[in-house]
């Protein structure tokens, strides 16, 4: 089943002389349950693409469908609700709210929808991420790896259609980064979670089912490995 589809997506920053074409007619299709790595040189447009897919930003041209809905023309409010329910975003810096406990941070997307968490599912995620005993801590009492796990737990709490990661392991040491990738693969396999991951790390890329390479805003190679 096709879960994500991009048609001729262009993104242009600035205007006139300062114009930067960050993305130039991207066509991309992702099946449900795929684990895709996006690689490319710095400034090639990876983050820009991810932001479009996460409806954090809107393309200048082209269409993006997630589960059949066009997200490129949504209003701000619609886009926010879409992000809440369909997308999990994980960044290099963990982006937790510093004044809220880990538990409250993780449950925030549900709270925004005024929904009660499914305790069983919460425990399952937290246990598998290994932060069960840190739930009542504040983020700055956690190590970097633990903070990133909390961020991942938050992005999975709504069982999103897409999990988007922008170098989630970029700030971690080898051991921690290995563990995080294993966890992502686990949720990819067990929950059939679709994952798109930006990475500079070749080893991480080689864990994926498919590697998409971007250069100067264009897809230059798309290699299915499994």
């Amino acid at each position: 089943m096709e879960i994500l589809k991009c048609e001729g997506v262009r993104k242009i920053y600035g205007s006139g002389n300062n114009q930067v074409v960050a993305l130039d007619r991207i066509d991309l299709s992702v099946e449900k349950g795929e684990f895709v790595a996006i690689v490319g040189a710095s400034g090639s447009g990876k983050s820009t693409l991810l932001h479009m897919l996460g409806s954090v930003d809107q393309p200048t041209e082209g269409k993006i469908f997630v589960e059949g809905t066009d997200i490129s023309t949504m209003s701000r409010t619609q886009a926010a609700i879409f992000r809440r329910r369909k997308v999990g975003l994980v960044y290099q810096f963990y982006n937790l709210i510093p004044t809220l406990t880990v538990r409250k941070n993780i449950l925030m997307p549900l709270a925004l929808d005024k929904r009660k968490p499914n305790q069983e599912y919460l425990e399952q995620i937290v246990d598998s991420l290994g932060i069960a005993d840190k739930m009542e801590c504040l983020p700055n009492e956690l190590s970097g790896g633990q903070q990133q796990r909390a961020a991942i737990a938050r992005s999975l709490i709504y069982r999103p259609a897409l999990l988007l990661g922008d170098e989630p392991t970029g700030n971690l040491d080898r051991k921690n980064s290995r563990e995080i990738i294993d966890l992502l693969k686990l949720s990819n396999r067990n929950l059939n979670q679709t994952i798109l991951l930006i990475t500079h790390d070749e080893k991480v890329a080689l864990e994926a089912d498919r590697i998409v390479t971007i250069e100067d805003g264009r897809i230059v190679s798309d290699e299915k490995r499994r």
Binding site: V56, D57, T77, A80, R84, F93, N95, T99, G144
Partner: protein
Amino acid sequence: MWREYSADYIKQNRSSGLSIVVAAFIAALFLSFLCSLFYNFWLDNVEGTKMETGDWHGRITGAFHAEDLELIEQFANVEKAVVNEELSGEQKTTVDVLFFNKRTVYRDMEAIRAWFKAAESDVTYNYQLLSLYFIRIPGDSMPRLLMPAYLAVVLIVCVSLILVIHNSFAVSMDSRVHQFGIFSSIGATPGQIRICLLQEAFLLCAAPIFVGLLAGIALSFGTMKAMGMLTAELVGGRQVNFYWHPAVFAGILFLSFLTVLISAWIPANRLSRLTPLEAIKGTAEMQLKKKKRSPILTMLFGVEGELAGNGLKARKKALRTTSLSLMLAFFGFMMMQCFFTLSGISTDYTYFKAYQDVWDVMTTVKDTKIEAFGLTAELKELPGADNTVLYQKAEALCRLPKDAESEELKNLGGVTVFGEEVADDEADFRKVKASVIILDDESFKEFCGQVGIAPRIDGAILLNRIWDSIHSNFRYPQYIPYVREDLDTVVLHRMAAAGEAGQVMDEKDSAKVPVLACTDMTPALREEYGKSDHDLVHFIPLSLWREISGKVGGAEPDCYIRALAGDRTSPEALCALEDEIIKIVGQTYEVESENRIQEKLDNDKMIAGYELVLGGFCVLLAIIGIAHVFSNTQGFLRQRKKEFARYMSIGLTPRGMWKIFCIEALVTVGRPMFLTLVLTIMAMAVMIKASNLNALEFIRVAPVLPILTFIFTVFGFVALAYFLGGRKLSKCELAKTLRGDSMSE
């Protein structure tokens, strides 16, 4: 969950909440003070109007009997109907009607009128009273000024409070742009973010608004009581009550919350409109956008000056509230001080100083002709008085030959050059305005002695001067002689019979008066002679006036008694003299009386009252600004640790750090002070020019001391704030902060 987020944030960031709490408290305090005061003024006005016009809404005149009165009272909305004894005559009775619901007063009165088949002219309404209840009736033309004025003041205050407070919110909100970016990226809608921020504002401000509101009411209660005590001392002062109503409380509460929530809404809306991407990257706002230099600070204080300049610029937004409120406070305070000083000089000129030596007690005898006043002898015998004059003023026209004008006046071009209306009468005569001052005979004889002629009571003494308004202004007038010294008679005409130019006047409306002397001396009276209209002033003894008043007329309705006390310095002596005069005259005549020292004291008290209210507002504004500096410096540890650690690591000494703080405190207060000083000086220059004052005269008594005290007090608090913030910073080990901990916000 949102509430938890806000509560956690508030708990963990008390210092940045402080300035908001203070601002909300002050806003509520001020609004509640103002509204409650206005409410009381309004009801006081209603009471005063009831006393003045009587307590009635509609009035109907006709041939009513007792049973008709009962009938009127049976109309549904009628509260009371009473016969007005004063206005009722033999056949016609006037009935005052009071209604329960004043809104329908017109309809109900019309119904009553229709029932009794009375004419439209038989019904009148108490427009003055009804207008205070905001009821407009066809035919009512009372201007409505009070309410619009109140509303305008409240609106201006609300807007200026919003202008000041919204910055407090903006600072607290903008420091969390990044966090709201995170919220947005995990799916918070703009609406949710806005609501969260407003809820937070509500949580933070509910208590201070409530307390401020009560404090404001208490303050207005105190003010009303104080005013009651003030007016109680005045003659004819009315009891001042404090009024209060739950609806007013609710109104003020609503207004305060509205003000605070609008203040919060402005930055909240701005924040919610940021795209998540801008927000998540968004610490950019807090940093220096472009590297600008601070040439003046660098020149004055060297490297530390430049660093202080950078520090101030980086927190420009956070300091905007401070600048704005300090500027408003300074400006308000300076303008107020200067304005009162200026108006003080002005009243001294035109009133207190100018008349210092010519009166102690002035008594106005209402509706009395001087010829008919019969107590002159008793007044002359008053024990506490040194000198008493009875006088009356009248207006007439004087028929003057053209060549009777003095050489100086002729050289200027004659009396017409001053633009006064002068009727040409025949070819060689002019009719000019004459003001006549009628003195009792004894006083007139004294004046003769003062002028240096033998005492007589069969002619007039002319005040031989005219204000040269071309070569001097009213503040520093120069005079020239009006007529030739040898003028021996003048002819006075009735004012009302002036007629057309050239028309020969009727004999019966004019009188020939011998001139005893032309002088530039004046009798000691509290009068301004001939300055406003360039008129020719005649002093006339009462005996002569008895002969000519039938022909000339034009006397003012009231006459005056001016008394000089034996002991001119003690308030008690003046009050005793005043009482004495009222005792003698008040039995037979209706009188009003003033005394010089009391007048001065009342005037001083009134100005002190104004200064208190206006000064209070300025102080409140200054407190908002200072509270802001405090909440800013209390956050130093968090905000500026890294900045100073960096400076220290490249060799800044602790002394250097203190120097930077001193400079920042100085600039924080100095800049608004300097700007407002320039503004005030400009405004004062315009005002001094407009009031024709000599600038030096103002500068000599300029209110430098109170202004300096105000500024230094504010500076003291700001310096204290910086000291406390700086001490926190100097205690923590800055070297450690350079390592790690960079990503946790």
